[in-house]
């Protein structure tokens, strides 16, 4: 870890101004991602700007849906009654993540910006295109057991976002509110926020330098109220997903009126599957429909040497999640 200075920012304006003056500085919220990366010398920042004092707080109903401040903690949001009732998939995605200690520290904004668990990325001794552009991707011929099969490129096959929350957010049409260094806010759907690796796996999101995540808003919908997050891992807790599915269904009289599907653990980014949704919408809520939707979601999957199992696992995970919400 390098030496760094530490500054507390009292407002968004103050925070972005510091970043502007010192582009290598980093915002720190819970620090559970950032400090791990710095301790392993994977990121070096001469200055940390503490944004925990920023007023990006609150979990409240708005005309656009439920608005969650970026500084809220994973545990608080996961246990919030509004979230539990109206967005069970969001609550589950938070409470199935990490450990209680981490969830108490970790913020929503930080969660959205967590970085890949690819073992090569996480060890500076290895080459890695994402960390050092152009250095190569050893995962292609190496340990790719837990890496992505959808949306990858020959430059990078990581699940760039390895976590859970953004999978549920992507499924339920959540929109991020961002604020740039000029104090200007813009709204970006989670499904557009993350970038596919292509030739530039180092570019992970469309966040501009110094831009802050202010809040995330999730529209109210029947399929949101009837949603779930299913997470598969070999140990019962405290592990990233091998595969996961966030789904929401509005079923009436046995027919699916609307459906939302996103997969985790298999995509280069949280993997919203409109192909699956298309098959589900208007179809009977039966296992056959779910299977067809799952097949559609995984069409075009490109497994590597060690992660072929994910093609089947992701489909079964999705089917099981759909069965659960279909009741």
């Amino acid at each position: 870890m390098n030496n760094f200075s530490y500054t507390q920012a009292g407002s968004a304006k103050e925070a972005t101004a510091i970043r502007k003056a010192n582009p290598q500085a980093a915002y720190i919220a819970g620090g559970t991602t950032l400090l791990d990366l710095m301790k392993a010398n994977l990121e070096e920042h001469p200055q940390l700007v503490d944004i925990n004092m920023l007023p990006f707080r609150g979990i409240e109903q708005t005309p656009d849906g439920l608005r969650i401040g970026a500084m809220e903690r994973m545990s608080d949001v996961g246990e919030n009654p509004l979230v539990l009732q109206q967005y069970p998939a969001i609550s589950e995605s938070l409470l199935l993540a990490a450990s209680p200690q981490l969830r108490n520290m970790a913020s929503i904004g930080g969660n959205i910006l967590q970085r890949t668990r690819c073992g090569y990325f996480r060890d500076a001794a290895f080459p890695c295109n994402k960390r050092v552009p152009g250095s190569g991707c050893p995962a292609l011929q190496g340990d790719n057991h837990n890496l992505a099969i959808l949306g990858t490129s020959d430059a990078c096959i990581a699940t760039s976002y390895p976590g859970d929350l953004s999978v549920a957010l992507a499924a339920l049409d959540a929109v991020l509110t961002l604020e740039n260094q000029k104090g200007k806010q813009r709204r970006v759907p989670v499904t557009e926020f993350y970038l596919l690796p292509g030739k530039t796996p180092q570019k992970e999101t469309m966040l501009e330098p110094g831009e802050l995540i202010v809040a995330v808003t999730i529209p109210a919908a029947v399929h949101a109220r009837r949603s779930t997050y299913l997470k598969v891992r070999e140990r019962a807790s405290y592990a990233y997903a091998l595969a996961s599915a966030a789904v929401g269904l509005d079923v009436q009289g046995g027919t699916i009126r609307s459906a939302r599907v996103a997969l985790g653990g298999v995509g280069a980014q949280p993997w919203r599957s409109r192909e699956a949704e298309k098959i589900l919408t208007g179809a009977p809520a039966t296992e056959a429909t779910f299977r067809a939707a799952a097949a559609a979601a995984l069409r075009g999957a490109q497994p590597r040497s060690e992660n072929r199992y994910k093609v089947e696992l992701a489909q079964n995970t999705l089917v099981q999640a759909l069965q659960k919400v279909a009741g």
Binding site: N3, G119, V232, R308, Y309
Partner: protein, 779 residues
């Protein structure tokens, strides 16, 4: 009987031994008073060292640029192979390795060669830990890298047949009878291959050394080690000092599982660094460094051929193991040992194959050999049972070994049948559906599995000192270590009973080479050896008191022959007239004796029976020289639930029943078995260190990515012990339980997975990908 049994009963009425006494060190631990080896922070001028390690697995150091690091504030020194003072001896040749007792025939920083990723290349010292870490990041090591060999699986790896494996302790090839012919003639033949992932010990406390040179020839080392004496020997030999000039202190250990059983390079490097900077130096390995600093369980494949009759009696066992070793050592854990003795089988053959790769030397890890060996034999026995339509428990009873098939000797004790029976009863095994893949719980498949456990009694010995005070308190000392498993507690109980006082009157000290020499806490020898030496030391105290009484005119025992005096309920009395006698306090006060001190030598295992004990740091040697074969036995029964679509396996019920001689503390013993079973469940379902085959470097060297079980993975566990009296193994009748607890666990889980799914998974760990990708077998 070959040998006259020698057995000392502790005083059964006084009742401390066996009771579930709470840990005597519990309070110190939970209040932070217990000081671990990296917590001796009051040493004058203590500074901090960190290791800089090699990124690449093979190559030659061209240059090391320390200039930027040395300019940082607080940085005191950076030691490399170029400026580190030379040692009197290094383990770099076989003879010196043996003299040192080193686990690895190579010491980093003795040349410019890089042999494995994570090899230490520099030691950076600064006034604070953070400054040392930062400076280490600034050190630039320029290595001319070469293509490394990663494992035996490497197509270019050259396999060879070693003469011996496991540091010369196990022959590379063993044959009993004519197994090939017997196999060929067997009506039932099974040949199966088992794969075992690399496992790392990962104790909670990392390797840590605090080195303090009190004078040029006087060194004290606070070390996270399972054996202070072995560390003392290693360090004094390397430094060219007398043993007495090196003091090693280990008051508390946060787990070891074998990785702290030997003296690894970071220890002597810290000692050299302390000498070089002239100040006490502390070094604690980081978690990633724990993966490349203290050994591991090697990656390995076993092929086991089983020949049997149609009624399930074994006729032949042929075992081959292929594994990865380092560039210098022929290390393989001895899987064949347990396969050779677990069941009655007239023929047996085992052979080991090794491939050299750019990895550090692997080492013993909880039940070395027995754990992976039992996975192979216990899965194959299960196969045999299914193939013949015999219950898995019944197939084991049909092949019950009434004596040790590997050497024909009678067992000193064996209560395995009782373990099977009690375990089956507790579990409800008789209600098992014989068909695999036929039991459901909703969507989940339910399976039951069982396996046998066994672990040898390793010949060892140690010494202890007991000082009994006239006021009824006692000081008991021995240079043993407590891995965190309860040595402090059980030895307090042993001393209390042996002296007829209560445990709260006993002060028990361990973990210091200043104290009487005790064995390494390894190979499950500590309980048996240390308890015996304390017991013997207490007998010495009594003999001294009896002698005193018989010479004391005022004593009712005056002029009695010492041999006619016995100790009963804490009183020395005449055997012929037990009303005649007195207690020690009365005798000592009258004679103005403040205390009496006794010492004792306790032997464990073959050395106890034969009188030829192995050295205290020397576990695993000469187990075979007594009239009896000595082992603990047990059985595990478990239930798993498998999601057939997701491939997830959860253990939902667990029963372990063991017979291990006298159980010293019902609570700590139960905890040991639970801990070992969880260790085994981790090995069965999730533990795997992944080594990249191009870089020969691990890709998951953190506890976020190397998974061990969490509480949610573990069900309520039922643990029982069968009463067992073994007069041959030691004065206390105690066998070890630290390792047997994980033997057979992976097989029990795999067998349950088979019963649930009809899928036989022979590759550990059994992860969802394997469950999904393995095909069902029809039986």
């Amino acid at each position: 009987m070959d040998t006259e049994p020698k057995f000392f009963e502790t005083n059964p009425q006084s009742g401390s031994v066996g009771q579930p006494l709470d840990r005597v060190d519990g309070r110190a631990k939970v209040t932070g008073q217990a000081r671990y080896s990296a917590e001796f922070n009051n040493l004058p001028g203590l500074v901090h060292a960190v290791l800089k390690t090699s990124d690449v697995a093979k190559g030659r150091i061209q240059s090391i640029d320390t200039s930027a690091a040395l300019k940082e504030p607080g940085v005191l020194a950076i030691l490399t192979h170029q400026n580190l003072p030379k040692l009197a001896k290094t383990p770099n040749d076989a003879q010196s390795k043996k003299a040192i007792g080193a686990p690895m025939g190579f010491l980093p920083l003795t040349s410019d060669q890089i042999h494995y990723a994570g090899q230490a290349v520099a030691v950076v010292v600064a006034d604070t830990l953070e400054r040392a870490q930062h400076a280490a990041a600034l050190v630039r090591v320029n290595i001319a890298a070469e293509k490394p060999a990663a494992s035996y699986e490497d197509p270019k790896a050259e396999l060879f047949d070693p003469q011996k494996v496991q540091d010369g302790k196990t022959p590379g090839h063993t044959v009993r009878g004519n197994p090939k012919a017997a196999f060929a003639a067997s009506p039932v033949q099974l040949t199966h291959t088992y794969v075992h992932a690399i496992n790392h010990h990962n104790p909670m406390e990392p390797g840590a050394t605090t080195a303090h040179w009190e004078a040029a020839d006087r060194l004290t080392v606070y070390e996270a080690t399972q054996g202070v004496t072995r560390t003392q020997k290693a360090l004094s030999t390397m430094l060219g000092l007398a043993a007495e000039q090196v003091r090693v202190v280990t008051k508390y250990i946060g787990g070891g599982f074998g990785c702290k059983g030997s003296s690894w390079p970071h220890t002597v490097l810290t000692v050299q660094t302390a000498k070089a900077v002239g100040r006490p130096v502390k070094l604690s390995l980081t978690r990633p460094q724990m993966f490349t600093s203290m050994g591991h369980r090697e990656d390995q494949t076993q092929t086991l051929k089983i020949g049997a009759t149609k009624d399930g009696k074994l006729t032949a066992l042929i075992h081959e193991k292929t594994s990865t070793t380092s560039p210098w050592d022929d290390y393989a854990e001895p899987n064949s040992r347990i396969i050779n003795l677990l069941y009655a089988c007239p023929t047996f053959e085992s052979s080991y194959q090794l491939a050299r790769a750019n990895v550090m030397t692997s080492t013993f890890m909880r039940a070395p050999g027995e754990a992976p060996g039992s996975f192979a034999i216990e899965c194959s026995m299960d196969d045999l049972a299914y193939q013949l339509g015999i219950d898995p428990l019944e197939i084991r009873l049909r092949n019950y070994a009434e004596k040790d098939p590997s050497n024909g000797k009678p067992w000193s004790s064996k209560s395995l049948k009782q373990c099977y029976a009690r375990g089956a009863e507790l579990f409800g095994w008789s209600k098992r559906n014989p068909k695999a893949g036929a039991t459901h719980d909703g969507r989940l498949l339910v399976g039951w599995g069982m396996a046998t456990a066994s672990y040898p009694v390793h010949n060892n010995q140690g010494t202890a000192r007991v000082r009994l005070y006239a006021d009824g308190h006692a000081l008991v000392q021995t240079g043993a270590t407590d891995l965190g498993t309860g040595t402090y507690t059980v030895m307090t109980q042993v001393a209390a009973d042996a002296l007829w006082i209560t445990p709260d009157k006993v002060r028990f000290e361990l973990g210091d080479t200043k104290l009487p020499t005790a064995p390494n806490s390894g190979g499950s020898v500590a309980a048996g050896t240390v308890s015996s030496s304390i017991y013997m030391a207490a007998q010495d105290v009594w003999q001294k008191l009896i002698k005193q009484a018989t010479q004391d005119k005022k004593s009712p025992l005056f002029r009695a022959k010492p041999a006619d005096v016995v100790v009963e309920k804490g009183r020395m009395v005449l055997k012929s007239d037990k009303t005649k006698g007195e207690d020690f306090a009365t005798l000592m006060k009258r004679n103005e004796m403040s205390d009496v001190e006794g010492s004792g030598n306790g032997k464990y295992g073959a050395g106890y029976e034969s009188g030829l004990a192995a050295g205290p740091a020397d576990s695993g040697h000469q187990d075979d020289m007594a009239g009896h074969s000595m082992h603990s036995f047990g059985a595990h029964f478990c239930e798993v639930k498998v999601d057939p679509d997701l491939g997830t396996v959860r253990v939902t019920r667990w029963v372990s029943v063991h017979a291990a001689g006298r159980i010293l503390n019902a609570k700590t013993a139960r905890s040991q078995i639970i801990g070992g079973s969880i260790f085994g469940i981790g090995c069965a379902l999730m533990e795997a260190t992944k080594r990249d085959q191009n870089f020969a470097r691990y890709t998951n060297a953190t506890l976020a990515d190397y998974h061990i079980p969490v509480s949610a993975d573990i069900p309520e566990m039922t643990v029982e012990f069968v009463n067992e009296h073994d007069p041959y193994i030691n004065a206390m009748g105690v066998k070890g339980i630290g390792e047997i607890s994980m033997v057979g666990v992976a097989a029990a889980v795999a067998n349950a997975v088979f019963h649930a799914t009809g899928k036989r998974i022979r590759s550990l760990p059994i992860t969802p990908d394997k469950v999904l990708e393995t095909k069902m077998v029809q039986v």
